[in-house]
């Protein structure tokens, strides 16, 4: 019994060590100049922040993160909703289809990325094979700064759309039947039923998916590292990838601290919005 009793405390102790202390430490690192080796960390105040704000690469990284998040969230939401509406119809084998569409979500990102590097291969890849009969040439997806981000977003959507689909489907099935019957009696057509029953009924789920989608897009790493390593010429360098590069490739502890602090604040902002507005703004069916 003592074991259980003490455990709530122990877990929060673990949380303090592994989550809160590192956050404080990140903030501390962001104020020093250090290469991970030198015995002394030189305190430089806000200089690392000033440097980051002046750095065109950092601006590009912020822009990339924005494009990646908007692209992946919009893509998974729209396709996931369409898929859920489809699988909500009485089609034979729809349970099996749901499982197949969900499967990529649980596959290792690194392995998925390796398969897609082969698919995007401009000479021997699948895309070239599929584009060939219609007379189109395959772009050099992962080595061309104009295409690399799109390729990455497509793969991310491929891997995550099953998750949004399954959750939208559960949301659809939770909308009470009598709402549709009442709408039918009022003479509402298919579009009107979708617009005035389905969409409002899905709003809490949609809100949940937008928030979790933003949070998980900020955490994308394995796809980027395997497919592009943030390149070509930083075209796919996002905040988390930049954090990794500053910390573990360039060994700029201070700059890594700055990126970590900014990434954390952005994530915190999204979470606060969720907690603050999640309950009120959204209609519960």
């Amino acid at each position: 019994m003592g074991a259980v009793w003490g455990h709530g405390g122990a877990e929060s102790g673990v949380s303090v060590v592994f989550v809160f202390w590192p956050l404080v430490y990140n903030a501390y690192l962001s104020l020093v100049e250090w290469d991970f080796i030198a015995p002394v960390k030189v305190f430089v105040g806000l200089e690392n922040y000033r440097e980051a704000l002046r750095d065109p690469l950092f601006h590009q990284v912020l822009g990339n993160s924005l494009v990646f998040t908007v692209g992946t969230v919009a893509g998974t939401l729209v396709l996931g909703l369409l898929g859920a509406l489809l699988l909500n119809q009485p089609l034979v084998l729809r349970q099996a289809a749901r499982s197949v569409l969900f499967a990529p979500y649980i596959l290792p990102g690194a392995a998925v990325a390796v398969v897609w590097v082969y698919i995007f291969d401009p000479t021997y890849g699948l895309i070239r094979l599929l584009l060939h009969p219609v007379g189109l040439a395959s772009p050099n997806w992962l080595r061309d700064p104009r295409w690399a981000m799109l390729a990455l977003i497509l793969v991310y959507i491929w891997k995550h759309v099953g998750y949004t689909l399954v959750i939208f489907l559960a949301g659809l099935q939770a909308i009470p039947r009598d709402l549709y019957e009442a709408a039918l009696i009022d003479g509402a057509g298919a579009w009107a039923r979708f617009r005035f029953v389905t969409l409002p009924g899905l709003s809490p789920i949609t809100f949940f998916l937008v928030v979790t989608g933003i949070l998980s897009s900020f955490q994308a790493f394995d796809l980027i590292h395997v497919m592009t390593r943030g390149g070509p010429v930083n075209a796919t360098n996002t905040l988390l990838y930049h954090l990794y590069e500053e910390g573990f490739v360039a060994f700029h502890a201070g700059r890594a601290g700055v990126v970590a602090v900014i990434l954390f604040l952005l994530l915190l902002l999204v979470t606060v919005v969720q907690v603050r507005y999640g309950e009120r703004r959204v209609h519960y069916a």
Binding site: L23, L91, A103, Y118, A174, Q219, F248
Partner: protein, 290 residues
């Protein structure tokens, strides 16, 4: 009268046709969606069974002309996959078990025990849930380095035991159990561990299965932390191993690389086939409740 009946009949036929058209369209769309997910995996499968000379021709065929198994032993030899399997298994089993035990005990304490500052403890855990571990990789790495845990199993496993999502899910499930059953067990003189083991856990079986599966899948797929904390081939897990195999053999040996990818994906596909019911419905139920 008749002039009225005719358009009505025609209308019904047209509606019937439209209905059949919609059903057909539905199946086509469903087939298309399944193909979009399946085709990349079939492409991987096809290459894994092709000789190199069949891969590096254009246009390449879907069905290998001279199917071969040679890529699998080649992949197994060009990287220490046996060792990767061992490492991934150790990290996944110990990591998931440790976290599950931690989460079950904490969730029980938070759901049923009265102790000082309980709300504060819950708030701390909730806040921890909201901080993605990726943000704290540098301080973690420095801590591991101070402990001498770089490139060790402890270093791979321990830091991620504190992440709180499992605790959160389990607490929710425990709170939804009927209180009377637990009170009855108390009246019968059962202690907390006894109540947890014989009452709470059996009643929470579905959510326990889902949480365990999610923990296992997450651990098995983990990439960023194992990439940072390991620095020799013999400590790498499968996802890191396949990354290095691509680095060395990609572009020139796609057959071997795809065979290696199958080594990494296969255990998860098997788990998914056996347990997809729990994973898919568990995730859906969790989100709808939220």
């Amino acid at each position: 009268m008749a002039s009225r009946a005719v358009p009505w009949v025609l209308g019904r036929q047209r509606a019937g046709l439209r209905r059949w058209g919609a059903v057909l369209l539905g199946y086509l769309a469903m087939g298309g969606a399944v193909a979009l997910v399946g085709v990349p995996l079939l492409w991987m499968l096809s290459a894994a069974f092709k000789e190199t000379k069949e891969i590096y021709v254009f246009p390449s065929t879907w069905i290998p002309q001279e199917p071969t198994l040679a890529n699998f032993p080649r992949a197994w030899q060009s990287a220490p996959f046996g060792r990767y399997y061992l490492n991934s298994t150790i990290v996944t089993v110990l990591g998931s078990l440790g976290k599950l035990l931690n989460a079950v005990l904490s969730a029980y304490a938070l759901a049923y025990l009265r102790f000082p500052a309980k709300d504060l403890v819950f708030l701390v855990i909730l806040a921890a849930l909201m901080v993605p571990p990726q943000v704290t990789i540098v301080p973690w790495y420095l801590l591991m380095s101070d402990l001498g845990w770089i490139n060790t199993y402890q270093g791979l496993i321990v830091p991620e035991l504190g992440v709180a999502f499992a605790t959160f899910l389990l607490r929710q499930a425990f709170l939804s159990l009927p209180r009377e059953v637990i009170e009855a067990a108390k009246v019968d003189g059962a202690g907390h561990l006894r109540i947890l083991w014989s009452v709470v856990l059996p009643l929470s079986q579905p959510v326990l299965v889902t949480v365990t599966l999610l923990l296992v899948v997450t651990r098995w797929n983990e990439f960023l932390w194992p990439l940072i904390i390991t620095n020799t081939a013999d400590m790498r897990t499968l996802p890191i191993g396949i990354f290095w195999l691509l680095d060395q053999e990609g572009n020139t040996q796609w057959g071997v690389v795809m065979a290696g990818t199958i080594f990494v994906i296969l255990p998860l596909l098997v788990i998914f086939l056996l347990a997809q019911r729990f994973i898919v419905s568990g995730i859906a139920a969790g989100a709808v409740k939220t």
